[in-house]
Symmetry: none
Subunit: 210 residues, 4 copies
Amino acid sequence: MARDATGGTGSGEQGARPAPAGAVPERLLAEATRLFAERGYDRTSVQEIVAAAGVTKGALYHYFGAKDDLLHEIYGRVLRLQTERLEAIASSAAPVEERLAEAAADVVVTSIENLDDTKIFFLSMHHLGPDQQKAVRAERRRYHERFRGLIEEGQRAGRFRPEASADLVADFFFGSVHHLGTWYRADGPLSARQVAAEFSDLLLHSVRLP
Amino acid sequence: MARDATGGTGSGEQGARPAPAGAVPERLLAEATRLFAERGYDRTSVQEIVAAAGVTKGALYHYFGAKDDLLHEIYGRVLRLQTERLEAIASSAAPVEERLAEAAADVVVTSIENLDDTKIFFLSMHHLGPDQQKAVRAERRRYHERFRGLIEEGQRAGRFRPEASADLVADFFFGSVHHLGTWYRADGPLSARQVAAEFSDLLLHSVRLP
Amino acid sequence: MARDATGGTGSGEQGARPAPAGAVPERLLAEATRLFAERGYDRTSVQEIVAAAGVTKGALYHYFGAKDDLLHEIYGRVLRLQTERLEAIASSAAPVEERLAEAAADVVVTSIENLDDTKIFFLSMHHLGPDQQKAVRAERRRYHERFRGLIEEGQRAGRFRPEASADLVADFFFGSVHHLGTWYRADGPLSARQVAAEFSDLLLHSVRLP
Amino acid sequence: MARDATGGTGSGEQGARPAPAGAVPERLLAEATRLFAERGYDRTSVQEIVAAAGVTKGALYHYFGAKDDLLHEIYGRVLRLQTERLEAIASSAAPVEERLAEAAADVVVTSIENLDDTKIFFLSMHHLGPDQQKAVRAERRRYHERFRGLIEEGQRAGRFRPEASADLVADFFFGSVHHLGTWYRADGPLSARQVAAEFSDLLLHSVRLP
DNA sequence: GATGAATGAGACTTCATTCAT
DNA sequence: AATGAATGAAGTCTCATTCAT
């Protein structure tokens, strides 16, 4: 009962932890993200998360009402980030081709830089409650529509093939992006920027008028 | 009495059984596929599967050694199907552009026709044991390489842009295909063939020399 | 209803149990009844119940969907018993005074013979879900009304004091009965029949015309 | 962030806070009484009590050593009140019949006026520690004996039926009183005084010589 | 071939309580 | 006098799997 002044991990069940730094909620989110990406939401127990963060279960439930609140928070983080960036790029003054190319490259780069979030996003959506799922889908939908708008703009401007369905092109491209998590390796031969450049190039070639 | 009455003398819990036809193992696989796609592997209990198939747990364990054997079997089914078809198309005598276009369209059509399998494939891989996972990845890899071979062939033949990385193009395209499960709806406005035609078209535009 | 005399000794929590006889669901109900009466619903853990019954938690949840299903079942048992007996007595051909006296004595005797159920009834109602609670109250209400009917019949027949509120008399008497659990001891000086005779006598004196 | 916001600086989650007035310990006791009566001791968390009282947990533990100290204090309050009043009534100079009638009516009135305490008394006794329980029972016993004394006095004085067991009569009557909490409603048709008059009347009829 | 009662481990969550501030 | 982050133990329930029949 009297707590050890050592402040070490001392309490039961965890081993020698590197005692991660930072505030508790942030540590919990960081470890949860890592673990969810590594082995999936359902194969990660709350116990593993708190052990990795160097706290106890009570601490987690002090900050998060339930395990899936962690998921929700992780989703919110990446959605906010990507939405903001797309908004900035899409509303710049550059020609539409350049804006589309940059938006495409950017979503690839941020997806790779936050590859854990990207993986989790598509692996674990079904673990959210119906309302949370609806909210995430709605936000995702807005993102999709903003991106599609760029394609339509290019078609109206006579730069992109008019017979392509803008909606389908967006789904086509985002499928590629969302699957980065299944094959991209940070320690592989390709940098994030290289992949971004190639993906962006492929997209532009697929819609541009010859 | 019991809320979740498994009970009684064997007359229990029929309920909304859709009178499943066919042999028991096939019924089990069919219902498992439907349920895994609908709510994920881990959110589907063995009890739900056997109830949907109209049998009892003992029957399931008579045919399958464990729950993840169902998953493994589902994976095997779709992998065999797609590998066979790709093989047939790629080795035909048509020009390489036509063969790539047809292969691309075909994988879209079969993915949509087996949309449940497609969904499960990427949602639930981490539930397989390490060995099974390795086996699936290896098979997937062969498929990937056969497809990439077509692109390289087209490049050597001077029909496709030589600067594109064939590997990356394949990952780009398969990402799009694998994500069909997240947005395609059978009751939506697009037929499988329409999506296939457009996706194939986008791929060809993205690699063909102008 | 009469309690299994098997139990007895069991002070240990697990391991070498006296292996209570009978079917598993009945054993679980019997032990749950004993423990709930002894220390209250909430101070009794599922673990304690299954240990007393000599089975595991899984077995309990095989038969009962939740802990409070045990409570519901216990309630149902005693309600059915008392309702049946009151019905039989009230509809006999004896004079109304005799029928009321017998009904009063009978509810005392059965309450004492099932003293654990009686205790639980009033201690733990708030642990039922809203719907179950409503069902129990409705059944209890029917019982109350049948009993009150006897008093009203006696008033109409000119045998009981007309100024007494039959409703209030019923509540008055049942209060006494329901509180038997707080003071009656099987090993005390009074037999169930003695208490029944006195309570019945007090009730009759309180309503009879002088 | 946290679903169950324990709340920021005091601006969080007011909602339906009835702007509690008075000193902190009194507010805590008042809210605890209300909540215990409404949903039971064990279904009421310390967090709910402090939220209702508009303070934090630290404040509660500053004034009360433990959760069940609240219960003990509530018990003490109602026991003191009823003991004092009985003492005053029983030792007056009126004839014994009048004193018994008045004591009976008074305990009904004070029970109804403090209906929450009455409910808690019998619902939550088993949450006290053994010593506290013993103390409460002893105090209760004294009350019972004082009341029984009135009945015996009336029997000796030749006003009450000598064959009735005074002890049993007291248990009979207090059962009725203690169960008021299960059926009496402040917004119902009966005033506290009406119930008191009828109960007192029933008691007197049940013991008085014809 | 098939049953379903029973297991046992582990999951998420709650909560009274403590203590540095 | 009061805070609220953090603890740690205990709670209820789920579920894949086994085995005697």
